[in-house]
Symmetry: C2
Amino acid sequence: MSGHSLLIASIEKHLSLNTQEQHRILLAFTTQYIKKKEFFLRAGEVCKQVAFVLNGCMRSYAVDEQGFEHNLQFAPEGWWITDMNSIIHGTAARLNIDAIEDTQALLLSRDQQEGLLKEVPKLERFFRIISEKSMAGSHKRLIDQVSVNAQTRYLNFCDQYPGLIQRLPQKQIASYIGVTPEFLSKIKAELLRRKD
Amino acid sequence: MSGHSLLIASIEKHLSLNTQEQHRILLAFTTQYIKKKEFFLRAGEVCKQVAFVLNGCMRSYAVDEQGFEHNLQFAPEGWWITDMNSIIHGTAARLNIDAIEDTQALLLSRDQQEGLLKEVPKLERFFRIISEKSMAGSHKRLIDQVSVNAQTRYLNFCDQYPGLIQRLPQKQIASYIGVTPEFLSKIKAELLRRKD
DNA sequence: GAAATTTCTTAATCTACATTAATGGAAAGG
DNA sequence: CCTTTCCATTAATGTAGATTAAGAAATTTC
């Protein structure tokens, strides 16, 4: 499947598009290649675009006063990623977004999105639905973060994203579940010991 | 301002409505009064509605294995509240939603919302925008939770919701920022000591 | 394919916050 | 109005997870 049809397929899960509409949609996006460790967005900039990942993987993360990184989201193929706070309020991004693997993504600027929505209004529905889903995901994450301990968070992560466990360095996962790499190592050792 | 016009005003921040559309919108909602400590949603049920608060205040919270409550959101007048995960996936709610003060709210079921959106399609845009905002809010909260300590989270809360600080019992705020009431008490004592 | 860099693991020590317990004060409710 | 329940505070003790350090393994780079 070509990257473009990944996007179209993802939209057509929620509504159907004729050929003309498909073309109009693709016109609004630009393609970008982002090498591992390169940035899509740096904290402090104003975020102007959302990215739809075609292949590879990006992540968003915040940096605290002591310089430690905290991963908020991973975006492998088929996922959207952006700094929503920055994009909708026009304020400086608090998030960095970079590539964990060499990545190909489709970018949609807010201006292009506005134009696209004017010409294909039924896409409002699509963007509403994916916003609701993102919000549900973010809520789920927050509940997990505040109501269970680190070991359970790790098990939940393995459960929900089995593909990513294989694929990502452990330190990235540690940063996502909110512990140090050292402590994640301990958790894994503990889990292994229990199994035997 | 009547409750209904609070809702209409809130929509008209994003798009304009004629009288007919306003009436059609109000038709989709039902009014409910919820007394302090009564539930709008219990964990385990499937959530079917979103609530728009006209006056009073509701909160959503998760309960952990040990029975402790963790507040996720407060919804005073003009705010929306629901369990988005339950409503969009049709799964059992993980959240409880109850009233912290006697509350009057407008309820919109998913079915009613679908009908409304069919007849007034431009509302797709409104719901997209508020979903994006909720998602931005939820992201902000998550960043705060993982990247700063409890004292800073408390100060940030005071900053962002000065009205709620006056209005809510401290234990509700403690539960929101993710500490025990005892520790919040300590934080406040510490802050007072520093001021003098 | 050797050197450099990054990642993972183990272990000792430390700390932010939780737990428990006890007291006084404020609401709530009949 | 009195009683009951809830709420805020302080203080002693406990613990999940952080920090620091250091070596082993894996990956990247030239």
